[in-house]
Subunit: 544 residues, 2 copies
């Protein structure tokens, strides 16, 4: 069954290898776990619902607990401590667009707010209700999870917006197709959520981000149904499709998503190479993508992430042998691991691998074949479970991500890492920090940073640690040419930094869009845009 207070299915419980635990202790010290609250305790704290009785609305405490929070670190702390603060007043699980329309009509008539809910995997507070006098209904799309149509000639599939990753892929696979969208949250997140939050999958280099995959569909708004026709491309004015992408529930609820699919490839392989140092590795990555080499993914771990991944892999004997071999080949301390994917026909795959290996020779890459790549592919969605294992050892883990142009990648990654690493120095507490580049573009790259620190002696103090790290680093990112998010979206957690990225007039454009569809701010208020936008659509208020 799905965990009510953590990630994924509770039957999955990955063990933290002893070598990994030792590695962490050496770096950031011993940790004492905080006590978990029980589901019963939390349920007992759920206040009565303020919503009207309605056949589509469930108000029992259990379902309200299970839809109250996402997967950010503050969500995690709230769920583990049992201090949820706010719950939705009810949850609806409509079965079709008609029921969604009915619920939206009710929201207008009865004056309650609505939060659309996909897989509940947000790490930025998208689906958390806000405290206030207005009742909140969470609308979960989970029952709208089917492949509705597949046009193999135009390669367009239509899905109910609540279809989660595994059901997207399995239903397509039955027909020989794939969407090719594999975000880290794949196991639980939904196609509608991907669109609403501008998601990016691990193989975006081949298949594109969700912006390139989303072809059209249907959005239920408070003003009626917005239908976006599928068109391969158009110059007919600004693209309404692009206004839905990233709208985070502020203009309506996506009910049907039409996406561009691809026949399953003849061959798919993942490969690993090591580089002697960051400089060579980063230059290789940049030049590979700028040379448009036919890769399906590229992920480059910096030296600390490489070291961490090897420590957490277990099998210390085998890893020891690997490191000896790499050292002989010149890749000792400071080495960086690159994982890359090749997808296509056998002939194309063979050619692509030859080209990549030749291309990387001047960068002194040590090519390791597909063994480690296969392992990566097998475990690619298991990472979030590690948080559970670390938590049980008393370690909190969070991630931060951005994207910036190549000329700024090293500088910004350095700033972020240094700020996090020394961010708890007033507590005399070191933080373990490491990064990778993934989602590389000719223009630049995403930077994905993970940080681990021991919990403090209370939930409040642990939250304060997180808050300090998050806020100082976010401010640093937007004032140094980084986006506040490359793939996690804005939600409530990133909203304070959006104005610096978009500028006053960019914010006015977003407010204009939201007000066109929802002048009364009934839909997911506080997410994406804070406050009420003021009279000119540029003012910022801390709270509505």
């Amino acid at each position: 069954m799905r965990r009510w207070n953590g990630w994924g299915d509770d039957s999955i419980q990955p063990e933290l290898p002893g070598s990994g635990l030792k590695f962490l202790k050496r770096r950031i010290g011993h940790a004492i776990p905080l006590p978990d609250a029980s589901l019963e305790e939390v349920i007992a704290r759920v206040p009565p619902s303020r919503l009207p009785e309605h056949s589509l609305i469930q108000t029992d405490p259990d379902i309200r607990v299970r839809h109250a929070r996402g997967q950010s670190l503050p969500d995690w702390l709230a769920m583990r401590s049992g201090q949820f603060q706010v719950f939705p007043d009810g949850v609806a699980q409509p079965e079709d667009a008609g029921q969604v329309r009915q619920l939206l009509g009710l929201a207008l008539d009865q004056g309650f707010n609505v939060i659309p809910y996909g897989g509940g995997t947000s790490v930025a507070g998208h689906i958390n209700p806000m405290e206030g006098d207005t009742p909140v209904l969470t609308i979960s799309l989970e029952r709208m999870n089917r492949l509705l149509d597949l046009d193999t000639e135009s390669q367009i599939a239509s899905f109910g917006a609540g279809t989660p990753g595994p059901l997207v892929e399995s239903q397509l696979r039955a027909h020989g197709y794939t969407l090719g969208h594999f975000p880290q949250s794949f196991e639980l997140s939904t196609i509608g959520g991907w669109i609403a939050s501008r998601s990016s999958g691990q193989q975006s280099l081949r298949y594109g981000r969700i912006e390139q995959l989303f072809a059209g569909g249907t959005v239920e708004t408070l003003r009626g149904t917005l239908t976006i026709p599928t068109l391969p491309a158009s110059s007919a004015g600004p693209d309404v499709r692009e206004m839905v992408l990233g709208s985070e529930g502020r203009i309506g609820i996506i009910t049907e998503a039409k996406v561009r699919v691809t026949p399953l490839p003849e061959r798919e392989s993942f490969h690993v190479m090591f580089f002697r140092n960051w400089h060579l590795a980063r230059e290789a990555a940049r030049r590979m993508v700028q040379a448009k080499l036919p890769l399906s993914m590229l992920r480059l771990s910096n030296a600390v992430e490489t070291q961490t991944q090897l420590a957490l892999a277990g099998h210390p004997l085998m890893i020891g042998l690997l490191e000896k071999y790499l050292k002989l080949r010149g890749a000792g301390e400071g080495k960086c691991m690159m994982t890359f994917g090749i997808t296509g026909s056998k002939r194309e795959s063979r050619f692509a691998l030859e080209v990549v290996r030749d291309f990387c020779k001047p960068f002194r890459a040590v090519y390791m074949g597909t063994g480690m790549g296969r392992k990566w592919a097998e475990k690619r969605f298991a990472m979030p479970y590690l948080r559970e294992s670390l938590w049980q050892q008393g370690y909190a883990v969070d991630t931060l991500e951005t994207a910036t142009d190549w000329d700024n990648v090293d500088y910004l990654m350095g700033l972020i890492e240094v700020n996090l690493r020394h961010g708890l120095s007033s507590d005399e507490q070191p933080v373990h920090v490491f990064s990778h580049l993934s989602h590389v573009y000719p223009q630049g790259s995403s930077i994905y940073t993970t940080y681990v620190f021991p919990v403090a002696d209370s939930y409040e103090a642990t939250h304060a640690r997180w808050q300090h790290l998050k806020e100082t680093t976010s401010a640093m990112i937007v004032s140094n040419r980084g986006t506040i998010s490359h793939q996690h979206g804005v939600g409530k957690d990133h909203a304070p930094w959006l104005p610096e990225e978009k500028g006053e007039l960019g914010m006015a454009a977003l407010w204009g869009l939201v007000r066109t569809f929802d002048p009364g701010s009934r839909l997911n208020p506080g997410t994406l845009l804070r406050g009420d936008g003021g009279t000119t659509g540029t003012g910022e208020q801390t709270d509505p």
Copy 2:
């Protein structure tokens, strides 16, 4: 010098080969040219300017004539007949963003409207002033035509928005780079115009449409300066960049464009293949792009276009030999010509050609090498000049274009062609119609249709012929899953059909955007969105 009443430089005057003229006469009969008005006559009709005197504003009739019209067929008829109807009251040619701001401030203070002007190549009425009581200033960006910055690490170039195609490429070429954006209008159209109208270049298959090339920049609006930062990708809400793309001057004037550039390729080649019939050719094209073959462009002429191109090529003896050879290989009457491009390193190019040729064997393609492809590349920007030659023989020529999903390509192309071919049957006048697919996508394709008909015995009657063909075909396109424009934009000519494509709420979103930046409709009114949007932003009025 640039023609005041037609396309391009008046020193270029391509001859229509005798074989081509004969071919046309056989199909649509003899034609008697209409008389051209002289520049002097037109200048004499320019009314006094209603603009205030200002050092940045020129009001002499000559410059007002030269900025009054674009290159649509009605523009052509207006210029040739001398019946311009409306002229801008003045033209400014600012040298920097400061002067643009100054002019916009003046427009607000003094109450005049503003039309931004790039290369004046619109074929949809984007830059035509509308009749009315409000004075109109056309702001031409032509003096802002320089490469301002080139970041070779992030591969981003910054240009003044008025830089025309040849100056974009030559300034980049000096540094070893290319933008790779080659619309048919390349010779005159500008980078700012490409962005404002969502242009697509002939090699979009490799380099992307302008949506993929535009990374950020600066737009001067009536509310101040909108700055869009360059980011390789972002999930931070709806993309403001995408709201500028296709905004057609309604939200502001683009002054600086930052675009994604690529090193000049080691090798670039264009190849020609013939197919026995449309069905085989179309299937080959669809499957090639869906298989992600590494092509830089693909253009597929239908049988009539193939026949027309061979007739217009001149050299009837050589063409005769070619046709004999093709017939021997099975490609006789009904044959279709495909031109495709391969760009990259020598090794990649060799591999790509092998893959393409093998891929097309089951479709019985006859590969002709690079000779005809080279000819196509040499003449790729000469096509608009042909209009001049045809005009002098009494033939009017226009094009219509759309894009639709693959399952609808044949059907829609058939509808368009039949409607145009028989569109003048009440005059008992056949129309010569042919099409090609270019800009192919895995999901679908653009359809580009050319139609030629003899002018009637007056300008008014010729305009009526055009209007009938254009209006009936446009209505057919949007009611049959086509976009009203894949690459020409909306302007004034396509605006009546935009609501059917975007839907009521899509139109409301566009009106919301325009009103955020320009509540008084000072900027290019009538372009993109007709009327004033009503009180809810969805109403349509025929004229403001």
